[in-house]
């Protein structure tokens, strides 16, 4: 009977519409989160810039102490890799591209004979790396959507400990940077030793030296400042990661909603045709029956 196909189609349309409702809701929620997370990046900017200014000033005043703190050692035996992804999926390429970049980095380092210790942020990371046989030393979850500064502090202290103890000579960060609403990219940066802006060398010779006063002394100050600067860098990476996540999710869900619309339209066209077909068949049957009765008389 033709009505069977119609019923199946009607059920599929219903399910597509239900899915569309979910993706539309997720799209709207993500869109509202984008504005908020972008505002947080903007609010964080003065702190980050101020912190960088202080470090630069201190490094310029005492390049010897700074070199010890800030330059990369020649031989890196163990590197700590930090990967930032999201807690949730359904966000387009956001998680997978950062994870793949992390995977590549780990392979490249092990290829060079460097031992790798992995720290991840976001629920999506541990499963990915375990599946590939890479041990995750520590994983933080639950705050990738809305990171607080306290979260950044917790990560920073976990990351700094092996570096301070000399167990790792380098700390690398893989995260998604939020350049603008339409432009995000996965980047690998060096967290420790603190990587400084390129203009450090210039400012070191531009007469700033001996000009700025320090209390306490530069060397002590730098030692205390380094963890603060690390927290600041991790916090801004977390904020940018969250903003990128929401942007990516909004885009992915908008595309999913469009697809659901299109699929629903196609299915309802097929269903209408099927319904018309079955009506036509029924009329033909009735007419045929009537004809047969009349000619049988």
């Amino acid at each position: 009977m033709a009505g069977g196909q119609e019923r199946i189609l009607r059920r599929r349309i219903k399910s597509v519409q239900a899915t569309r409702k979910i993706t539309k809701a997720m799209e709207l929620i993500a869109a509202s989160q984008i504005a908020r997370s972008q505002a947080r990046i903007v609010a964080n900017r003065p702190y980050r810039q101020g912190m960088r200014r202080i470090i630069r000033e201190a490094a310029a005043a005492d390049p010897r102490a700074a070199r010890k703190m800030l330059s990369t050692p020649e031989k890196v035996e163990t590197a700590l890799v930090v990967v930032i992804v999201g807690d949730r999926g359904l966000s387009g390429p956001y998680n997978s591209s950062a994870l793949r970049a992390g995977d590549r980095l780990v392979h490249m380092l092990s290829h060079q004979g460097t031992k790798v210790r992995l720290v991840t942020i976001g629920k999506k990371a541990p499963a990915f790396f375990r599946f590939r046989g890479i041990d995750v030393e520590q994983s933080f979850t639950g705050f990738a959507d809305r990171p607080t500064f306290a979260d950044a502090r917790a990560v920073a202290s976990a990351v700094a400990a092996p570096f301070v103890a000399g167990e790792a000579q380098q700390v690398l960060l893989v995260s998604t940077r939020f350049h603008s609403a339409g432009n995000q990219s996965v980047e690998v940066e060096q967290l420790l030793p603190l990587s400084m802006p390129e203009d450090l060398e210039v400012s070191a010779t531009s007469g700033l030296k001996g000009y700025t006063e320090f209390e306490p002394e530069v060397e002590q100050l730098l030692t205390e400042l380094a963890p603060r600067a690390l927290e600041s860098e991790i916090f801004s990476a977390l904020l940018e990661g969250a903003a990128s996540f929401h942007t990516s999710q909004q885009r992915a869900m908008a595309a999913a909603t469009d697809n659901a619309d299109e699929l629903g339209q196609t299915l309802s066209r097929i269903m209408n045709r099927a319904r018309q077909d079955s009506i036509t068949t029924e009329i033909m049957e009735i007419v045929g029956g009537a004809e047969a009765l009349r000619s049988g008389k």
Partner: protein
């Protein structure tokens, strides 16, 4: 004319920024005051009260440890003083009930005698210190 631009900044937000006549705080080396034309300085700020004097009155900030930097501003004649703090708030905005609750919960955690590992203990102590500072500054306002 020489002027002073003060910014009190936390990672979450720029708490306050504007024209001021003086900035008063305490570093590990003692109490200090920043006036316009102060020599460039970088230093730390110990937890406590940071006061900003402006033409329309004095503002108090409860700063839970941080750093300050004094340097030339963007325009000639302007001295910029920035206070960077992990946690800070306006003294007028301290939530006494919340600080009291935080203090009690921290004290309870310390007094149960339960074995806290080093990191957890440090967190509780830090939270207790913040709550005590908030209460102390709120009482004096």
């Amino acid at each position: 004319m020489a002027s002073l631009k003060v910014e009190i900044v936390t990672p979450e937000a720029a708490l306050w920024s504007g024209e001021a006549t003086a900035l008063m705080a305490r570093s590990s080396e003692g109490q200090f005051t920043i006036l316009p034309q102060h020599t460039p300085t970088v230093g730390d700020v110990v937890p406590g009260l940071v006061r900003v004097a402006t033409v329309s009155g004095e503002l108090g900030f409860c700063v839970h440890g941080g750093y300050f930097q004094v340097g030339p501003g963007d325009e000639p004649g302007v001295t910029r003083a920035t206070v960077l703090a992990g946690v800070a708030e306006r003294v007028s905005e301290i939530d006494v009930a919340r600080a009291q609750a935080a203090k009690e919960s921290a004290e309870a955690q310390l007094n149960t005698g339960a074995e806290l590992d080093e990191a957890a203990r440090a967190l509780v102590l830090a939270s207790l210190a913040r709550a005590q500072l908030r209460l102390q500054l709120a009482a004096a306002r």
